[in-house]
């Protein structure tokens, strides 16, 4: 399958996975390409020509002051004023406190979206991340690009 103007195509459709339990009983995780990471953790390699295929764990209990952004490929002016505009950690914490969701996984996940080798991404980062999310026993995941 090909599409004019895009290198990204996928011919197969993954069937919908139904919710296994009500939202209020479900554990939510968050996966972001925003390059958000706890201060003091190894910075993403934002200048590597083919990208950085690692991810960072972000404690779901963290505050925006605990976190920093290592990413050059999107405008961060809004995020530097209010991180929730790209990594809505405080909003997700509120939803858990209010029992809108059953809870949050211990960690959220972040990586950088600049990865120029989709095969390598699929074999490494995607597999590693999927395993980490499954280990956190997440019932559903909110994924957000940056």
């Amino acid at each position: 399958m090909s599409a004019i103007g895009s290198m990204i195509t996928k011919s197969d459709v993954v069937p919908l996975a139904p919710m296994r339990r009500p939202l209020a009983d479900s554990r939510l995780t968050f996966v972001s390409t925003a390059g958000v990471q706890p201060i003091g953790t190894l910075p993403f390699d934002v200048v590597h020509p083919v990208g950085d295929y690692t991810f960072r764990r972000v404690p779901s209990s963290a505050t925006p002051a605990d976190l920093e952004i290592h990413q050059l490929k999107y405008p961060t002016d809004g995020a530097h004023r209010d991180l929730n505009v790209i990594f809505p950690i405080e909003r997700l914490q509120e939803l858990a406190r209010e029992n809108v969701v059953g809870g949050l996984t211990q960690d959220f996940f972040s990586f950088i979206g600049y990865n120029m080798d989709p095969d390598l991404l699929e074999r490494t980062l995607a597999e590693d991340l999927a395993r980490a999310v499954a280990d956190e026993q997440a019932d559903l995941a909110l994924l957000a690009p940056a």
Binding site: S6, I8, V13, L16, L92
Partner: protein, 72 residues
């Protein structure tokens, strides 16, 4: 691009890069985007469905008003 990738469920938001949950300090909008996305997990009828949501111009105006109030 979302149509090409075919995620099971997706919410399309009309914001510029780096601002996918709306505008800074607009708590209600940030919450609404998340709430709509989570609700869509339940209401989506077929794989690959994309939910259109919100108008950027409206939220930008509201966000500017919120920041103005914070400074006053």
């Amino acid at each position: 691009m979302t149509e090409h990738i075919k995620p099971l469920r997706a919410v399309f938001v009309p914001f510029r890069m780096g601002h996918h949950f709306g505008v800074p300090f607009h708590v209600n909008a940030q919450r609404r985007i998340i709430a709509e996305a989570l609700d869509f997990v339940r209401t989506a009828t077929h794989s690959g469905q994309i939910l259109d949501l919100l108008r950027w111009a409206d939220l930008r105006r509201e966000g500017a008003q919120i920041e103005k109030q914070q400074k006053s």
